[in-house]
């Protein structure tokens, strides 16, 4: 048996846009969830790597076969390459966190991996398969539950985790959330990107802009409610560099996210026993990368006004809140709760 003091515990938030890891050694890393393989020998020679991750993969995408394995928060089915990508991504995160070194020294690595609230069983099985040989112990957990646990919001609270691929809802009733305690919408950050892309194409028919560029614009300028000033960007239209104002398109795209999220939130509140609904409404936690959108929390609070009011707290560190929650779970989990994975 190994010395238990050598164990490394990690929490992993496997996200559509970014994946983060937090470790019991106090280390935290994040990578964009892109994996790219050189398309040919020439590309491999230039890049000098067998596989690239995150921004490296995006920046060199012309020489790579790039995969973003978690579309809409779920592993794409039926694609061996995407399954390989998810394994590469997990291996990369664990390597960044020093897990390989721990295992080489005979220590054990145990990971709590957060997945979307309503992830399909087949997706969870893919994650289990992907983790074989990478860690010694595994617990798969609903991502919003991990967030709630990390923030110690265990009772009469709701997490609204707005990521890139999915928006996950989880109401905490003092038990591990069941299916009826959770919701997942595919209206999330990527959906806003698509809306913005479509709106811009409709308004400027000759516009030539990639979804990556649109995503960058959204991340810089997104808002719900009052804009802080006009948003102008440079973009080729019919081949000619042009300066355009996209304020209205950004507003429309971002605000289109509000109604479905508010509706699902209120629907879930209604499922709580009536005497606790007020407590839950006043303890809504807005997490996930898209929670940084200015005005989003206030929008959700306004949506609760006619139901007796509510309070939305936006998490301070949306990038790591899920991974930190996973780590908190890993640190508290009884030894017998871990699934032991063979090499």
């Amino acid at each position: 048996m190994t010395d238990k003091s050598q164990h490394l515990l990690v929490g992993i938030d496997l996200g559509t846009s970014q994946s983060a890891i937090s470790t019991s050694d106090g280390d935290r890393k994040v990578v964009d969830s892109y994996v790219g393989w050189p398309v040919d020998a020439v590309a491999r020679k230039i890049l000098k790597k067998e596989v690239l991750f995150g921004t490296d993969a995006v920046e060199n995408r012309t020489m790579l076969e790039v995969h973003r394995p978690l579309e809409r928060g779920l592993l794409k089915e039926g694609s061996d390459k995407d399954q390989q990508a998810i394994r590469e991504l997990l291996a990369h995160l664990l390597e960044l966190a020093g897990a390989d070194e721990v295992r080489k020294k005979g220590g054990k690595v145990r990971a709590v991996v957060g997945v979307p609230a309503e992830a399909l069983r087949v997706n969870k099985q893919h994650v289990r398969q992907a983790m074989r040989g990478l860690v010694d112990g595994l617990i798969i957990v609903s991502e919003p539950f991990a967030v709630a646990y990390g923030l110690d919001a265990l009772l009469h609270a709701m997490v609204v985790d707005v990521g890139a691929g999915t928006t996950d809802f989880c109401v905490m009733k003092g038990r591990y959330p069941t299916e009826e305690d959770q919701r997942t919408l595919t209206n999330a950050g990527d959906w806003v990107d698509e809306q913005l892309h479509t709106l811009l194409a409709e308004r400027h028919p000759g516009i030539s802009v990639s979804i990556h560029t649109v995503r960058d614009w959204k991340e810089k300028h997104s808002f719900i409610g009052e804009e802080s000033g006009p948003i102008t960007v440079s973009v080729p239209i019919a081949g000619r560099p042009s300066e355009i104002d996209i304020t209205e398109e950004v507003r429309q795209a971002c605000e289109s996210l509000g109604p479905p999220v508010a509706e699902a939130m209120l629907d879930l509140v209604a499922s709580v026993e009536s005497e606790y609904q007020d407590k839950v409404r006043h303890n809504v936690i807005l997490a996930g990368g898209t929670s940084r959108m200015p005005g989003f929390g206030a929008y959700l609070e306004r949506a609760m006004d006619e139901y007796g009011g509510g309070k939305v707290k936006v998490v301070k560190d949306p990038i790591y809140v899920g991974a930190d929650g996973g780590l908190a779970l890993a640190q508290d989990a009884p030894t017998s709760d871990w699934e032991k994975l063979p090499d």
């Binding site: 957990v141 003092g174 038990r175 030894t335 017998s336 709760d337 032991k340 090499d343």
Partner: protein, 352 residues
């Protein structure tokens, strides 16, 4: 208002159920629904008992709940009583270390890691090793391969005895093919003043694809299947109704239960770590509570390990190999020494 500690415990129970359902591919919520159904049954039983004013019935309900229950496992039919009675008694298990043809690759290239002397600290002086079943009670039987649980458990127990007795005193509940009632086994353990009790069994599961090992410590389970399993293992226990109160006290003795759980976790870890090289598909089916009489009626930390599934064809073949049974014995030895080491260091820490 529910306490923080209890709240977290409840959350982890749910999380563990969710992961178990994933691992075993059960529909989501299956385990929770079973728990809830059982909770209703137990609540009804408690009300009935309190109305009748007799605690003895409570004890019987907890210890033997499921004996007449509709959840009686398919295992019942597969255990050896019926098979043995049918005249299909196979020859004793081969104890050769030579792998049979076709399975050599399983153990090829793998060197058994001998365990060192003197690694068990003084915190543990005496261990009772209990080879499950024996005599007329053959346990699970696989006639095709000539395997009987009673022979396999005895062989593993003997191997474990050889490893342990280099450092400490070992008490075997049986050394041959003897029928030893469960009450006598626990009496042997309690009268010997042993520090630990380790009972060795081999599993039979209705799902022939299921494989791996399970580790139990004493406790009232919420799983109807485990209660049925305990009922089967507790048959002919030799305990009277008058003993039942003491048995209940045994289940709910918190300190001993915590230590038993800790030992069970060591056993589970060691079995996985040791067996995965010979049996890469080995599955840790979990550390669980169950009211097995040998766990409930013993006074020291006690565990029962179902070390493999004889109902799984591949594991049955592995169990037929002396080398694999040696791995199991080594794993149990490592678990006992690891537990003892941890106990020793925590004692020192507390003393400091």
């Amino acid at each position: 208002m529910i306490g923080r500690r209890r709240l977290k415990q409840r959350l982890f129970e749910g999380l563990a159920d969710d992961n178990l359902e994933l691992i075993h591919n059960h529909p989501r919520g299956t385990i929770r629904r079973q728990r809830e159904a059982l909770s209703v049954r137990r609540h009804r039983t408690r009300r009935f008992v309190l109305a009748g004013g007799t605690m003895v019935v409570v004890a019987l309900a907890v210890v033997t709940l499921g004996i007449q229950g509709n959840a009686r496992a398919d295992r019942t039919a597969a255990t050896s009583g019926e098979v043995a009675a049918s005249g299909l008694i196979p020859p004793p298990v081969r104890t050769s270390d030579e792998p049979p043809s076709g399975l050599a690759e399983v153990l090829s290239g793998e060197v058994s890691h001998p365990v060192g002397h003197g690694v068990i600290p003084l915190a543990v002086h005496r261990v009772v090793v209990d080879a499950g079943h024996g005599g007329r009670d053959g346990g699970a039987v696989l006639p095709g391969l000539g395997l009987r649980e009673k022979d396999l458990t005895l062989d593993i127990a003997r191997r474990l005895n050889r490893l342990l007795s280099r450092d400490i005193e070992v008490v075997m509940t049986r050394t041959g093919d003897d029928a030893v009632p469960l009450s006598e086994r626990t009496e042997i353990a309690n009268s010997s003043g042993a520090d630990l009790f380790v009972s060795i069994h081999v599993n039979w599961l209705p799902d022939r694809e299921a494989r791996g090992f399970e580790t139990y410590y004493a406790g009232a389970t919420r799983d109807p299947f485990l209660e049925a399993l305990a009922a089967v293992e507790n048959r002919d226990s030799g305990f009277s109704v008058a003993d039942s109160r003491r048995l209940l006290d045994g289940i709910y003795s918190d300190v001993r239960r915590q230590e038993s759980r800790r030992l069970a976790e060591w056993v589970s870890d060691a079995l996985f770590d040791t067996l995965k090289t010979s049996n890469p598909q080995v599955v840790d089916r979990g550390v669980m509570r169950a009211p097995f009489v040998v766990l409930v009626a013993t006074d020291m930390p006690a565990v029962l390990a179902e070390v493999a599934c004889i109902s799984n064809d591949r594991e049955a073949r592995l169990l037929g190999l002396g080398a694999y049974r040696q791995r199991i014995a080594e794993a149990l030895y490592r678990a006992i020494s690891g537990y003892a080491r941890e106990l020793n260091s925590s004692d020192k820490g507390e003393a400091a």
